[in-house]
């Protein structure tokens, strides 16, 4: 049961990152590749800060703030200098690799060892295991983040941001600087991703230069899974929750396939295939249905009535 429980805990903490990806990918239609770098950045900043003796809560907020800045860099590249969003994200991500190494003093790995963290506070106070404490703290954080996002996207600024993703020309004609809304969305998204990296690093008790590799794909996979499970939901809060649920299911699947003896290194391939298939299925279905429903005879003429025996009438 242990690996499943830690899978759920991982799913919840990574779920904060999925919410970040949700903002850019689902609301703004930008697959933001900054994620891989800003997730690691959150972990690096927080572990280094904790080891420097900074209060773990403040250190975690610093991880969040660092993510915000990373997203702002992508946002400025994209909105001020009009670099295509995907390329802007890649540039920031690549740049962050060096920045992250610098932050960790040139080491690829930064262990927390016995240092206090936001999670060890719970393990000490409640006498629970590391994964139980992570799960508990993760659930509290996720509830808070979903409530804040639900509120924010109902405000005037939040609505302008959603409208930017829906119809940019329209909302600009209504007086919104869409450069600002996109910049804000990218910064907020990466703040959440940085927070998620900060929490995951505290859960696993180390930050690693590669901890965020493929984060964007995990985020997309989780969103896709969440949509399959709760796709019919109309309520925005439920939609946000579906991202978390997708993340939890993703990490449960990962825990299960690892238990069945799959090489952990193959998980990235599995995620990539999962996302590709999920995106490809609707297109393939449409093509298949168009072909299948085609008939040579006049569909609405007399011949059709004979064939169907006038059943349609």
């Amino acid at each position: 049961m242990g690996s499943l429980q830690s899978g759920v805990a991982q799913g919840v903490l990574w779920g904060i990152m999925v919410l970040g990806v949700y903002i850019t990918y689902k609301l703004l239609d930008i697959p933001d590749l900054t994620a891989d770098g800003s997730f690691t950045l959150g972990g690096c900043v927080t572990t280094v800060a904790i080891l420097a003796g900074i209060d773990p809560i403040l250190a975690t907020l610093m991880g969040l703030g660092a993510g915000f800045l990373a997203g702002a860099v992508t946002g400025i590249l994209h909105t001020v200098f009009e670099i295509p969003a995907i390329l802007a994200g890649i540039l920031t991500q690549i740049g962050l690799w060096s920045v992250n190494l610098r932050i960790m003093g040139g080491k690829a790995n930064n262990p927390l060892l016995k240092a206090d963290s936001t999670i060890s506070f719970f393990t000490d106070a409640l006498g629970v295991t590391q994964s139980q404490a992570s799960l508990l703290l993760g659930v509290l954080l996720v509830i808070a983040v979903i409530l804040i996002l639900y509120w924010f996207f109902g405000t005037e600024i939040g609505s302008a941001l959603r409208a930017t993703g829906d119809n940019e020309d329209m909302i600009r004609a209504l007086g919104v600087n869409t450069g600002h809304t996109k910049l804000l969305a990218l910064a907020l998204s990466n703040a959440l991703i940085g927070l998620s990296g900060a929490m995951v690093a505290q859960m696993q008790k180390y930050a690693d230069i590669n901890m965020g590799r493929g984060a964007i794909v995990i985020g997309l996979a989780a969103i896709v899974i969440g949509e399959v499970l709760l796709g019919r939901a109309k309520n925005f809060g439920v939609k946000l929750f579906s991202a978390i649920l997708g993340s939890i299911v993703y990490f449960i699947i990962q825990a299960l396939v690892l238990r069945f003896g799959m090489d952990a290194n193959d998980m990235k391939l599995l995620s990539a295939i999962m996302v590709a298939v999920a995106l490809a299925i609707p297109v393939a279905m449409r093509r298949y249905n168009t072909k299948k429903s085609y008939v040579e005879y006049d569909l609405y003429g007399a011949e059709a009535e004979q064939k169907t025996g006038g059943a349609e009438k």
């Binding site: 020309d169 209504l174 007086g175």
Partner: protein, 265 residues
């Protein structure tokens, strides 16, 4: 009063696709003017409207709205003066958002947006009243997604959105061209009612010469990025489609080669 003084705009400067879209354009719009704009394809009608809206910066000249020079102001800053309805019904509304959300976004045109709640109960009452005036039964569908509406309904909602916050200038860029004739007539009737009721200063581009003559108090004809004919008042009312075709040939020296316009559909 809105003034355009020697406005020029060339697209794709220095390339083989170079196109002078506006060429020393001068126009003074008095408060309350309802101007219809006609002209062949590529005459610069939409370009003039987009220059007014600030979609792109012009090469030279000045645009002033009530004495304020807005020439170099970007589109989103100028939005506080200008309401717009586009040709494409998809362009003026957010399909994935509710009717009331769209209206509330438009209610804040040109205003600072903060962290207050977007949908307010007292505003909802106003939206319901305003939607009822359209006569399309939309007042009972406030929380429906706009994507569920037909092109005509969306265009009517866009029209309402453009005027919810009274603009100094309403720009209508062939806003009925993508609709079927019956719906187009309905949207056009609504347009006239809304413009008259609010005494809005408006520019309406149309391909329909009969509409251009019948609607508004002033008509301008464009060709090659310039205004070649400007008529108002009684003289405009007496115009016929033949007069306009004749004027066009006289002023531009070419035949009016536009079937859509000849038919006056």
């Amino acid at each position: 009063m809105i003034e355009l003084k020697h406005i020029s705009k060339t697209f794709n400067k220095g390339t083989v696709n170079e196109k002078r879209a506006l060429s020393n354009l001068n126009l003074t719009i008095a408060d309350g003017d309802f101007i219809t704009v006609i002209g062949g394809n590529g005459a610069g009608k939409s370009t003039m409207l987009n220059a007014l809206a600030g979609v792109f910066p012009v090469d030279c000249g000045t645009i002033t709205i009530d004495g304020v020079n807005v020439t170099m102001e970007p589109e989103h800053k100028r939005a506080k003066y200008i309401g717009r309805v586009f040709q494409d019904p998809m362009k003026g509304t957010c399909a994935g958002m509710q009717i009331e959300e769209n209206l509330s976004l438009a209610k804040r045109r040109g205003k600072t947006r903060g962290l207050g709640w977007q949908l307010k109960a007292e505003e909802r009452v106003l939206y319901r009243e305003q939607l009822a005036t359209l006569g399309l039964g939309l007042e009972t569908r406030l929380s429906d997604k706009v994507g569920l509406l037909s092109g005509g309904q969306r265009q009517a909602v866009t029209l309402l959105m453009a005027t919810l916050q009274k603009p100094k200038l309403l720009l209508l860029d062939e806003h009925t061209a993508a609709l079927d004739p019956a719906t187009a007539a309905k949207v056009l009737k609504l347009t006239c009612e809304i413009v008259e009721e609010n005494k809005l200063t408006s520019l309406m581009v149309t391909h329909n010469m009969r509409d251009a003559i019948a609607i508004g108090n002033r008509l301008i004809m464009m060709d090659n990025g310039r205004i070649i004919y400007d008529v108002a008042g009684e003289e405009k009312k007496r115009l016929t489609v033949e007069d306009l075709l004749h004027k066009f040939e006289e002023a531009s020296g070419t035949e009016f080669a536009n079937d859509r316009m000849m038919l006056g559909n």
